[in-house]
């Protein structure tokens, strides 16, 4: 008896897991477990996005939890009009991060350079320090980019998305993303040059 209940429940869960985001989002309006599946599917991507925007694990966890709490609160307002569910989630994440930066403008977040960095098993200490310094400079430069360009960098290099996928998330054409990417690299190099002068 218990086994049959368990297998029925498992079947229900696997049925949810097999569904696409849009179907789950519709079901999540009335069924909390469907939202749980959406959470599991997207929590890592949203965490990464937030992490590279705020630069530390503690805030990234706190803000990621807020993103999903807000998404759950407003899931009834989500309308599938050809916009991917992830685009809706990223928009919430963007707003949560912007609010966080505004609220903490007098108390800036811990910069990325203070985050512990995994450096592998390199024995050459000096070389490792130089490498870490370069990496931290680049991460700092990324955080000095406008929000939209940071988003693009995260989607491209963390989520390994193609331009057409990024376009769907950001609501732009593939060509517009290609152009934005080029301008982003250009600005990134300029910021890095400025940081080199400042150091």
């Amino acid at each position: 008896m218990d086994d049959s209940v368990l297998s029925t429940s498992d079947t229900a869960d696997s049925a949810l897991v097999d569904k696409d985001d849009q179907s789950l989002a519709r079901r999540a309006k009335i069924e909390r477990e469907a939202f749980g599946v959406l959470y599991e599917r997207h929590v890592t991507a949203i965490y990464r996005y937030v992490y590279y925007r705020v630069g530390n694990q503690e805030d990234a966890e706190d803000l990621t939890a807020r993103v999903f709490a807000r998404a759950l609160k407003h899931i009834r307002n989500y309308n599938d009009r050809g916009v991917p569910f992830t685009a809706w989630l990223y928009r919430i994440a963007h707003n949560v991060v912007v609010n966080h930066h505004r609220d903490n403008s007098r108390h800036p977040a811990v910069p990325l350079e203070e985050v512990e960095i995994f450096t592998g098993q390199d024995d050459d200490h000096d070389q490792r320090i130089d490498g870490d310094r370069e990496r931290n400079k680049l991460l700092r430069a990324i955080r000095l980019l406008p929000a939209e360009r940071q988003h693009l960098i995260v989607l491209k290099f963390v989520e390994q998305m193609q331009n057409n996928e990024i376009g769907q998330i950001m609501g732009r054409s593939e060509g517009a993303i290609k152009s934005l990417y080029h301008r982003t690299l250009l600005q990134l190099r300029e910021i890095m040059d400025d940081l080199n002068v400042a150091l």
């Binding site: 965490y47 966890e61 995994f118 990324i142 960098i153 963390v158 990134l188 190099r189 300029e190």
Partner: protein, 82 residues
């Protein structure tokens, strides 16, 4: 305005730097589990009664009508005083 250009070598160098610098980090599993449990236990938001939407729409429509009437009234009044 930016006037400098990126060569293919610049793009390749920047992309390799970005690939090296950005790790596909993952959230701690404890956090993922805890946050999920908290989400599942959040109190459900009560749905707004159906009349709220209708009332809001009616209020907006009424305001627009009032605005149009007011503009029309002042327009006519202005013409009469000229």
């Amino acid at each position: 305005m930016m006037t400098s250009k990126l060569t293919q070598e610049d793009v390749a160098w920047l992309e390799s730097q970005l690939s090296d610098a950005i790790d596909p980090i993952s959230p701690r599993s404890e956090f993922v589990t805890r946050a999920r449990a908290e989400l599942m236990n959040l109190p459900a938001q009560p749905a707004l009664p159906a009349w709220v939407n209708s009332a809001a729409l009616a209020a907006v429509a009424l305001s627009l009508v009032a605005l149009v009437v007011a503009i029309f009234f002042f327009y006519q009044h202005g013409r009469e005083t000229r």
